[in-house]
């Protein structure tokens, strides 16, 4: 499964080489590293790769839609589908000096659903708050996001952390 995923990712990587230089950006990929404390999802770390599309790139507060795969250490494969939206944007912010590039502070709120590809079941819905998200226009970087997770099987709330996420626009 993992080899197939690597091949798919390599293929996608090569395909995206030919469609560059959009203005403004409308699509790319997102990599994130998550952990969950929910029965329906393995407790090991999940590395996820999503296709990230911004359907209204000219809007200042455009939502983004993501679809992709999340992989855990134990060959546990999840499919995710979600969307997020920036809550506000601050061009002058206290974290500016941490970055070489000009950044805007843009906390985001996201909603996603998680399917377990091993059991072929919808297992969870996730509400994510990214309080430390920084926009560089072609990239967005977030750290220490918080997940509120609704476990569909047990019908109970759990939680999770997003250690980091990087969205990189390619076209």
């Amino acid at each position: 499964m993992r080899k197939k995923m690597i091949i798919i990712l390599l293929f996608l990587s090569m395909v995206t080489q030919g469609i560059l230089f959009a203005a403004p950006w409308w699509g790319g990929y997102r990599v994130a590293f998550d952990g969950y404390a929910v029965d329906a999802i393995a407790t090991s770390e999940h590395l996820s790769f999503d296709l990230n599309i911004t359907p209204f790139p000219n809007l200042s507060y455009s939502p983004s839609v993501q679809a992709g795969l999340a992989m855990s250490a134990g060959e546990h494969l999840l499919a995710t589908l979600g969307a997020d939206i920036p809550l506000f944007k601050l061009h002058t912010h206290p974290f500016q000096s941490f970055f070489r590039r000009t950044s805007a502070y843009t906390p985001t709120l996201g909603l996603a659903t998680i399917f377990d590809l091993n059991t072929e079941e919808l297992v969870a819905a996730v509400l994510t708050l990214q309080p430390l998200m920084f926009d560089f226009s072609d990239k967005q970087v977030g750290i220490l996001g918080f997940h509120a997770v609704w476990d569909i099987k047990t019908e109970s709330w759990g939680w999770g952390l997003r250690l980091f996420e990087i969205s990189h626009y390619l076209w």
């Binding site: 091949i7 293929f11 995206t16 080489q17 061009h91 070489r100 590039r101 072609d138």
Partner: protein
């Protein structure tokens, strides 16, 4: 092992595709010639727009242009847009950055776009890096955007990684547009001290071209800065004074693959030359397809001259360039080597066909400029401009020698071949 094979296969296909894209054959040029388009029709067919413009005024050394930029900054009332491939923090560039910061503090809108390659600039004749200007500019309170930062995430997307903004231009108050090859770095404006590179910026007033360049700048800026701009916020003066001498200016804005225009410009230079073609640039990184264009002109009786330069500040670039001289000579090209009396490097990118068709800007006659370098050039079809260009070439020729085949052969080695291959994508 399978994954490795797959990776190797994909990489091979990718490189092969790039080479295919660079290919141009004599047959294709002959087909273009059979269309019998005049130059204007040719440019229309390739969607290269033209605008009414004043005749260009040239600034022919880095130091000369640096003095002019300080003057332009001082005169600016509303806005200054600066796009440079290389922008560094150095004693020689500090007056420009300081002058821009002073104007910004007075309320003039200043935006500076610098390519991420600036992070890899070396002190002349050393392997020591020099600091890119981004942090310094932010310290000075200036708005700066880094074009396509060379970050870890780009390593997985080689085409994206090599997408570089090689354009160099200034827009001041919607009235002055200057395009050329001069960066805001230590070598362009201050090596050797007091002279800088032998290089040119061409300054014009052209409302249409100014508007187009403002649009280009804003589009790129918005892709690399979260502080988005609107092109409509930058007013452009709308008419050329009736007393001014005017000409038609074609504005070539190249980015691959959707606005791939440089190859069309190279085709035009080869196709429309009847008598003499001049290509002037410091280095040559020639490919078979580029050589074909020159051969096509030579076979029709055109004298093709290429002027290269001594005194590169980076030995590897020079070694790589010299490998290709033998190919040029064997194709029938006269190769001149410019040796500046002051030890300056000829960084100019000037091409002149029959003393009439002239292009100046950021594009080199190489594969990178045809593909992953974003380029901006002025193109003129005007004997007045051609005559000025030929006079300047005549001046440069005073310090040139013709490279012999024996000399060119002496530059051939495995090392020069290796660097030449690297420079096809890097240089």
């Amino acid at each position: 092992m399978n994954s490795k094979r797959t990776l190797l296969f994909i990489a091979t296909i990718f490189l092969f595709s790039l080479l295919i894209l660079s290919c141009s054959t004599t047959a294709r040029l002959e087909k273009l010639a059979s269309e019998s388009w005049d130059f204007t029709e040719f440019m229309d067919q390739h969607e290269i727009p033209s605008f009414s413009s004043t005749l260009p005024v040239y600034y022919n050394t880095g130091a000369e242009w640096n003095a002019r930029t300080l003057e332009l900054i001082e005169q600016a009332q509303d806005y200054i847009l600066v796009c440079t491939f290389l922008g560094v923090e150095h004693i020689s560039t500090e007056p420009v950055w300081q002058a821009l910061a002073k104007k910004a503090a007075e309320g003039v809108r200043v935006y500076i776009l610098i390519d991420s390659s600036s992070n890899f600039q070396l002190i002349p004749f050393t392997d020591e890096f020099i600091q890119a200007a981004y942090m310094r500019l932010r310290e000075l309170g200036l708005e700066v955007a880094e074009y396509n930062s060379l970050s870890l995430s780009n390593l997985f997307f080689p085409v994206h990684l090599f997408d570089r903004n090689h354009q160099k231009y200034w827009v001041v108050d919607g009235e002055i547009l200057a395009v050329g090859g001069i960066n805001i770095n230590h070598t362009s404006i201050a090596w050797p001290p007091g002279i800088g590179n032998i290089d040119s910026m061409a300054e014009v007033f052209s409302p249409g071209a100014l508007q187009a360049v403002v649009n280009i700048f804003v589009d790129i800026w918005n892709n690399y800065s979260p502080n988005h701009l609107k092109a409509t916020d930058f007013e452009v003066k709308d008419s050329i004074p009736l007393t001014a001498d005017t000409t038609e200016l074609w504005l070539l804005d190249h980015y691959w693959p959707t606005q791939s225009k440089v190859s069309a410009m190279f085709d035009a230079l080869s196709l429309y030359a009847q008598d003499e073609l001049w290509l002037i640039q410091g280095y040559t990184y020639i490919t078979p397809a580029l050589l074909d264009r020159l051969k096509y002109a030579i076979e029709r009786g055109v004298t093709v001259n290429v002027m290269l330069s001594e005194y590169s500040t980076q030995a590897k670039y020079e070694i790589a360039s010299r490998y290709g001289i033998l190919d040029l000579i064997d194709a029938g090209v006269n190769v001149y080597m410019y040796t500046s009396p002051e030890g300056a490097f000829l960084h100019l990118k000037l091409m002149v066909s029959d003393g009439k068709l002239v292009t100046i800007g950021s594009a080199n006659y190489n594969f990178r400029s045809q593909t992953l370098s974003r380029e901006l050039n002025f193109i003129f079809e005007d004997e007045r401009i051609g005559s000025t260009a030929l006079d300047y070439i005549e001046e440069l020729l005073q310090h040139c020698r013709l490279v012999t085949r024996e000399e060119a052969e002496s530059y051939r080695s495995f090392k020069s071949w290796f660097f030449n291959v690297l420079m096809q994508v890097w240089g």
